[in-house]
Amino acid sequence: MENVTGEGISDQIGRFQTQLQMDGRGRKHRILMVSDFFFPNFGGVESHIYYLSQCLLKLGHKVVVMTHAYGNRSGVRYVTGGLKVYYVPWKPFLMQNTLPTLFLTFPIVRTILIREKISVVHGHQAFSTLCHEALMHARTMGYKVVFTDHSLYGFADAGSIHMNKVLQFTLADVDQAICVSHTSKENTVLRSGISPEKVFMVPNAVDTAMFTPSPDRLSCDEIVIVVISRLVYRKGADLLVEVIPEVCRLFPKVRFIVGGDGPKRVRIEEMREKFSLQDRVEMLGAVPHAQVRSVLISEAFCIAILEAASCGLLTVSTRVGGVPEVLPDDMVVLAEPAPKDMVRAVRKAIDMLPGIDPQVMHLRMKKLYSWDDVAKRTEIVYDRAMQSPQTDLLERLPRYVRCGAWAGKLFCLVMIINYLLWCLLEYLQPTEGIEEVPDIRPVHARLESVDDTCETQGKGI
């Protein structure tokens, strides 16, 4: 069928697709996820990168992950769905972070960017040195970069001041940024001075297929309160020491299970001995999650709450960071981070328990949070990043100058040296000399094509 101008529908669709691609919308991206934190390490950032990558692969984008080597896990690995992971043999030196070298990672980042024909570089986590360095090199090479901040940070202590300056340096020249909650967005904007228009809020999600309610209706004769956390001050372990005896005194049917390890474990064990609660407080000790590094002040977005809600469990949490944004009021009981208010919240939660239907809660979670939705929202951020204009070094330098009287000049110097290093690398190993890697289609894409073939064959019969 042709219209009056003689243009076929396929031509029109093609023209529309070309237009979308030129606008940066609807195009398939080739994304490099960079962070020091990825599996086999376990935590929120690692899960986020993994699930997001899987969903982006399903949407037809190419995704490659770059992280540092974990023990013997070095080199190239393919994980579920054909997700390619580069475990670069740089050893971590502190809390799974690679040693900050500024320029030494440039050759390997450049090689990966060229050989994988990357179009967008997506860095994760403010305290990942590999992420900051990769974003800096990518900007020097003219790539579009997106940064996701997964954590909240303070402003006053020495560590925060240093970290915020590094963040300011990186975010001075990113195309777009993502935060996992509105609180996190506010925090990031204040810390880095990035324009709020550049920052998107894309929440985390939960794999509801993995976290399902128990098929058996739980008995109300005994109420079990589960605490899964690293037992450190920042996670509220000291609150736990005061809350547990009080709750046990008020509610004889309550039993606690505490999973996790940390410096505050001794305090909880002492409390258990002191109040003779051995039969009512079970200590599970170290679980794999306990190895996860902790530098958080509070949660930007607590995935554990989502997982609990997906299992149909009512959650009691402190009202800190982005936690109040995570769930509606009837699915979580919030308390101020004080023992008295925590006890009040536990009492309220116990009163609410009979009215909680785990299956209904699970279904609500299914509708509220999904990684597919997160991937679609992230895709929009990539499209927006692709629309941002190309800039050269001279146009980008003023952005760094604005970072501070001395720091601004220092940042400019670093970027100029990085640019010269790029020129040197181009001379020593021209881009044409780096072989591009053939694309291997993700497993599900191959399975889908097999399904399509079967379907076609079936119709033919």
Partner: protein, 177 residues
């Protein structure tokens, strides 16, 4: 097929399927190698001739010269075959070949491909090109030929790129330009 210093040639001769990868020798690299060696030699000679003025500086001077010479050292495919033009061969019985594999390697500064052989009763993979890194487009036809051979069990194979059924000749040649 050529890429940088590498040239790939494929021919069938007398029932043999021959894949050859040639490496061009860099005259500049050879010249620099000589310069490094002369520099080291001159330093050692200087220290030996002026024994009375030997001091800690002499030790540092020789060490520095050694580092310079090492940096400038140029190792073509095989030292022994550098001038003689002889070919260094390692024969792998094809009966031991389980599968050829194209491996992707990552170092702290770069990535490269290598063709390796998975052999029966061998703990380690055997690299086909031990000290050189030819581009993957040159290794793919070799890998395909070996893979086709292993897939068809090496008997009655109609695939054109069939290797010698008795031996796999892993060879590296060096040519001068």
């Amino acid at each position: 097929m050529s890429s940088g210093v590498y040239t790939y040639k494929h021919r069938c001769e007398g029932g043999f399927d021959i894949h050859e990868v040639y490496i061009k020798r860099s005259k500049f690299r050879v010249l620099f190698s000589y310069v490094g060696e002369i520099f080291l030699f001159a330093n050692v000679l200087h220290a030996l001739l002026l024994k009375e003025s030997l001091c800690t500086n002499s030790f540092w001077s020789i060490s520095f010269a050694f580092v310079v010479a090492k940096c400038l050292q140029y190792k073509p495919v095989k030292k022994a075959t550098f001038y003689s033009g002889r070919v260094h061969r390692q024969f792998v019985p094809v009966g031991k070949l389980l599968k050829p594999v194209l491996n992707e390697h990552v170092t702290p500064i770069t990535c490269y491909w290598s063709l390796v052989l998975l052999l029966h009763s061998e703990d380690k993979l055997v690299r086909v090109f031990k000290k050189v890194y030819p581009p993957v487009k040159m290794m793919v036809p070799i890998w395909k030929a070996l893979d086709a051979f292993t897939n068809y069990g090496g008997m009655g194979n109609s695939v054109a790129l069939q290797p010698n059924p008795l031996l796999i000749n892993v060879e590296q040649r060096c040519t001068t330009t």
